[in-house]
């Protein structure tokens, strides 16, 4: 298992002959985002084949109640980091419920469904706990009064989870996935960097394409 920094250093070191140096054209932040994209790709591909979510992909998120965010009395809104989308109409949000796992929210997939359920005599909100996730926000409708819910999910950017420490904690990916991500980095950003010389003169002319000077 590797930390995010170790994954990046390993990939850079591999393409640059074992050296990890600071004179790169592509910034570490940009490579970090690419690692997240590679991870999402690996998780989606792996899930499509196995229909399983690997235990190493999960992270736990503790939503924080913010009174200023609320816009109604029948629901509670929380910010939540974005989650990965899997190709079979499911996503990375796997559990929203109480911290002791004794009670959970049932997932509602879209607002139209939620709206219909609101009026449905049997399914209507208030009979069960429901949760709707949309674009970095979860809406919780609770009947059993879950006080401090927790979220367990495969988040699309692990560093967005406040309890994840990118310098110290293992990156949430299985070892095969780490290998895939390192190769993905090489194929996308790093290979391009080592094969493209930097045009260091800002004069509007691509100096890398100029004829080489004759040897003296």
């Amino acid at each position: 298992m590797k930390t995010l920094r170790q994954i990046i250093e390993s990939a850079i070191g591999t393409v640059s002959g074992g050296l990890f140096v600071d004179d790169r054209n592509i910034s570490t932040e940009q490579i970090e985002k690419k690692v997240d994209e590679g991870r999402a790709l690996w998780c989606a591909q792996s899930y499509a084949q196995t229909k399983q979510v690997h235990g190493d992909w999960y992270q736990r998120f503790y939503p924080e109640y913010d009174a200023e965010m609320q816009d109604g009395k029948c629901k509670t809104l929380f910010s939540c980091p974005p989650v990965i989308w899997f190709a079979d109409k499911t996503d990375g949000l796997r559990y929203v419920g109480s911290a002791d796992y004794g009670d959970n929210f049932t997932r509602v997939w879209d607002r139209a469904t939620l709206s219909n359920m609101m009026k449905h005599p049997v399914m209507k909100v208030g009979r069960r706990n429901y949760v709707l996730y949309q674009n970095g926000q979860i809406e919780c409708y609770t009947i059993t009064n879950i006080k401090s819910p927790i979220v367990e999910a495969v988040f699309s950017s692990p560093v967005d989870v406040p309890s994840f420490n990118k310098n110290e904690h293992n990156y949430p990916l299985d070892p095969q996935g780490v290998d895939f991500v390192e190769k993905y980095l090489t194929q996308t950003v790093l290979k391009m960097e080592i094969s493209t010389p930097a045009d260091k003169i800002s004069d509007g002319v691509d100096s890398t394409k100029l004829p080489k000077p004759l040897m003296q």
Partner: protein, 359 residues
């Protein structure tokens, strides 16, 4: 033993003496100064194996610790542009921001036209700093007026800086809204936070203004979960922190990083990916400073020094092998010959030296 005189003899042996005899000691010292500068730059560019590092044993400086003021540290002497006297207060103006503080000692050199007690061309203590580019000091005697010149050096700068290898920055990150909600009297003390966080084992945390004063300070943290952990005084976690039990919530919590900085170049600041953060600091060279972002209080720097022991071809006492390996000195002679062949237009000598050059 290889002295300056010995170097001169080797040079003359390699170059036909009928050419070299018109090089007096001053000219030859200047030639070796240029050769030394060129060669050290070439060696710096080729610092890839232990061999090169060994040859530059006095120029590679590592793990040098400096305090940093206003997130920048001076890497060149400050240039004086004006000196004025008003009563017994002397005001010195510098070309760039000096980044100096009152009561700081600075060394001034090369000011022309003014004499004072204490001597303006010596060590003076700053009285106050009226603007970022001026400072004053108090004299008991002043005579004359400023005629130009003058540089300033001080201990809070890197006066022999030439090139940067790597720099580690001490930064602090305040974790907004995070407070200690409970202290448990154990060995070591266990603290519980008001919300979940990402502190990892071995990280340095700073707790301030907590009502339980025994947990205020800088500690090493051993996470037990994402909401509680143990406090230690040392990195090896052998000296525990003791505290009394309390359930009062309060204070503020910060994390201290000491991470390597990445260079940031002016033409890349436009990129949204080049933002510096407390755990990913950046360093830029500008205005004769190393400038750090975000706020940095201390650095540990590895750099290439410009402090070179110069060759004096008239000297017959000092052994240059104490500073440079013999092989490096022979390479230095070759470099001097290559420089010498250019003005003398001796193409044959240049080609011969190039073929037999010491690697």
């Amino acid at each position: 033993m290889t002295t300056g005189q010995e170097i001169r003899k080797i040079f003359e042996n390699k170059v036909d003496k009928s050419y070299s005899k018109f090089l007096d000691n001053t000219k030859m010292n200047r030639l070796f100064k240029m050769a030394l500068s060129n060669l050290s730059e070439k060696k710096y560019m080729g610092l890839t194996s232990q061999k090169e590092y060994d040859e530059l044993r006095y120029q590679v400086r590592t793990e040098q610790i400096f305090s940093v003021l206003n997130s920048k540290i001076s890497i060149a002497p400050l240039i004086i542009t004006n000196v004025t006297a008003n009563g017994l207060i002397i005001t010195v103006t510098t070309r760039e921001d000096h980044n100096l503080l009152a009561n700081q000692d600075v060394s001034i050199l090369g000011v022309l036209g003014i004499s004072s007690i204490p001597d303006i061309n010596g060590l003076v203590t700053i009285f106050n700093v009226p603007t970022p580019r001026t400072f004053t000091f108090i004299a008991t005697f002043i005579n004359g007026s400023y005629q130009g010149g003058g540089t300033i050096t001080h201990t809070a700068m890197i006066d022999d800086y030439q090139h940067l290898f790597a720099v580690k920055c001490k930064t602090k990150e305040l974790l907004r809204g995070l407070q200690v909600s409970e202290c448990i009297d154990r060995t070591p003390c266990i603290i519980k936070f008001n919300k979940h966080n990402n502190f990892a084992i071995g990280e340095k945390i700073i707790i301030s203004d907590h009502p339980n004063n025994s947990i205020n300070g800088t500690f090493y943290y051993e996470a037990l979960s994402s909401i509680k952990g143990k406090l230690w005084r040392d990195k090896k976690m052998s000296v525990p922190v003791r505290c009394s039990s309390s359930t009062t919530q309060g204070g503020s919590v910060s994390r201290e990083y000491y991470n390597w900085a990445e260079p940031i170049y002016s033409d890349r600041k436009i990129s949204a990916f080049e933002e510096s953060t407390a755990d990913n600091p950046k360093v830029a060279t500008a205005d004769a400073y190393l400038k750090f972002t975000p706020d940095v209080s201390e650095i540990t720097i590895d750099y290439f020094s410009k402090n070179l022991a110069q060759v004096d071809v008239s000297d017959n006492i000092n052994d240059l092998e104490l500073v440079y390996p013999f092989k490096f000195l022979m390479r230095l002679v070759d470099e001097a010959i290559m420089l010498y062949t250019s003005p003398s237009r001796d193409v044959l000598l240049a080609q011969l030296t190039d073929k037999t050059i010491t690697p």
